[in-house]
């Protein structure tokens, strides 16, 4: 049987495709997930309250959105300590190779999905010109490594109770946050390059074998970079939310031992 049906060869309108699967679920989920985080983080940073548990009867818990806590005498009341630090982890995520893929697809629809048409653009320049700033990612990586140390110290403080060492749900939340942020940071593509990926001949350079092993280790983590990115994003928001709720008395931070 042969039936002719009219069909233009090329799709030219945004979203036009022959794909029959639910291709739009991916970009829509990313759009909603990232938007939700951005709205929550912005609100919490400008909220400028309930970010720390600092009482005589409990351990010290500080929200990761406000760590390291920068305060000084005469600090304007409108200036949130969160604003002073959040640009660094924010910049690390903004320029991250995974998030670039995610927001180019979900926010800029460039492309919305594979084999799906974009809105016509005249001057596509990719990551040249205006988006050259993405190349700063490795510098944000250096800051992210510093933040990991700071957040690990916060976990340490959360285990110091007035009567000695102890752990609560809050310290477990902060610990999980640091572990997931660590997995996200140590699976970074730039770190993978800097730690050994840039070497072609490992047997020709000093510490080449060690650097190859480190590169292999980061490469294993790197395969799941997207998962670490989402898990750590969720956990950092949850850690802040938990401390907010404990601070307002909505949750009780239960001590485990």
């Amino acid at each position: 049987m042969m039936t002719k049906v009219a069909a233009p060869r090329t799709a030219t309108r945004l979203g036009e495709t022959d794909r029959l699967d639910l291709w739009w679920i991916g970009p829509l989920s990313v759009f909603l997930g990232l938007s939700l985080f951005i709205v929550y983080a912005t609100f919490r940073v400008f909220y400028n309250a309930h970010y720390v548990i600092d009482t005589a009867s409990s351990a010290y818990l500080l929200s990761p959105f406000y760590s390291p806590l920068i305060l000084w005498d005469g600090m304007p009341p409108w200036l949130s300590p969160g604003i002073l630090i959040l640009w660094a982890p924010g910049g690390f995520r903004l320029t991250c190779y995974y998030y670039r893929k995610a927001y180019y697809r979900a926010f800029f629809l460039d492309p919305p999905a594979c084999g799906v048409s974009e809105s016509p653009k005249k001057n596509y320049t990719g990551e040249t010109r205006l988006l050259l700033f993405q190349n700063i990612h490795r510098y944000f990586l250096y800051l992210a490594l510093l933040f990991l140390i700071i957040l690990s110290i916060d976990v340490g403080y959360s285990c110091i109770w007035p009567d000695g060492f102890g752990m609560s749900i809050g310290s477990l939340v902060l610990l999980t946050n640091v572990v997931l942020l660590g997995l996200y940071t140590f699976s970074c593509h730039s770190l993978r390059h800097l730690i050994g990926g840039k070497i072609d001949c490992y047997s020709c350079v000093a510490f080449g074998h060690t650097r190859h092993k480190m590169w292999k280790g980061v490469s294993i983590l790197n395969q799941k970079h997207m998962y670490w990115a989402w898990a750590s994003l969720f956990m950092v928001a949850f850690a802040d939310f938990y401390i907010w709720m404990v601070s307002t008395g909505t949750f009780t931070d239960i001590r485990i031992f």
Binding site: K4, R9, D18, D110, C114, E127, N135, R138, D200
Partner: protein, 244 residues
């Protein structure tokens, strides 16, 4: 299970064409390419389709099946519902010669821009663990599905400025080879246009050889370009330690 499969196949050339519907008998184990061959034998002997090995290794039978770039010989019919109509179009990025056959010669012109392997002088010994990384890139069968799905080429048609994922894989295979001494970072930045890739990973998604094109080839090459042109600390370090 229905014993008939309905296909809609693009018939025409680069100027004009239409989707033509065919019904062919379906047998167990058939792939899309088998169904296309049935169309040739039963309905339309003049249907043009390029194929060779039927084993997913020659990279000839690339097409878009229900809008997804695929090798027709590796796409089993039993994945599709019995009553579904399967649409088959030629790759969108390249000019159509006839029906499902595209003119992919542009790729071979791009390939000529890439400087060949330049072996280092002196000892030429290296170890398997150093070769592992570049061996992944040698799996490429040049089906050009990655070139087809890359939106820089497909939507923006920047063929004069961007070489496409396939050739970034080739450059990666040369650049990361332990014995190669050629520096292609300037070529990557300028002529091959690695900066135009916005790493949306469609090339990786469609690769029939499962090469991690974006993570293992394109991003490391982008990082090498950053090393050379966009990292002021790296530039200072190179000056201090007199590295080139």
């Amino acid at each position: 299970m229905s014993n008939v499969t309905t296909l809609q196949i693009y018939r025409g050339d680069n100027e004009s064409g239409e989707m033509v519907e065919y019904q062919v008998p379906r047998n167990p184990g058939m792939v899309v390419l088998d169904a296309v061959h049935k169309v040739q034998s039963i309905h339309s002997p003049d249907l043009a389709v390029r194929w060779n090995c039927k084993a997913g290794k020659c990279g000839s039978c690339s097409a878009e099946v229900n809008g997804k770039p695929k090798l027709m010989c590796m796409d089993r019919l039993n994945k599709y519902p019995d009553d579904a109509t399967i649409s088959i179009r030629p790759m969108k990025t390249f000019p159509i010669v006839k029906d499902l056959v595209c003119d992919v010669s542009w790729n071979y012109e791009v390939n000529k821009k890439i400087p060949a392997f330049k072996i280092r002088k002196g000892e030429r010994k290296y170890y398997q663990y150093e070769a592992d990384r570049v061996q992944e890139f040698r799996k490429c069968i040049e089906c050009f599905l990655c070139q087809n799905v890359c939106h820089v080429l497909r939507e923006h048609q920047l063929k004069d400025e961007f070489c496409g994922p396939r050739f970034l894989v080739r450059v990666a295979g040369l650049e990361m080879h332990p014995l190669d001494t050629e520096d292609r970072s300037e070529l990557l930045k300028n002529e091959l246009g690695v900066g135009l890739c916005n790493i949306t990973k469609c090339c990786t998604e469609v690769c029939p050889e499962s090469i991690a094109i974006t993570d293992n080839a394109i991003i490391p090459l982008k990082e090498r370009v950053v090393d050379r042109f966009f990292d002021p600390l790296g530039w200072i370090a190179r000056k201090l330690f007199k590295k080139t």
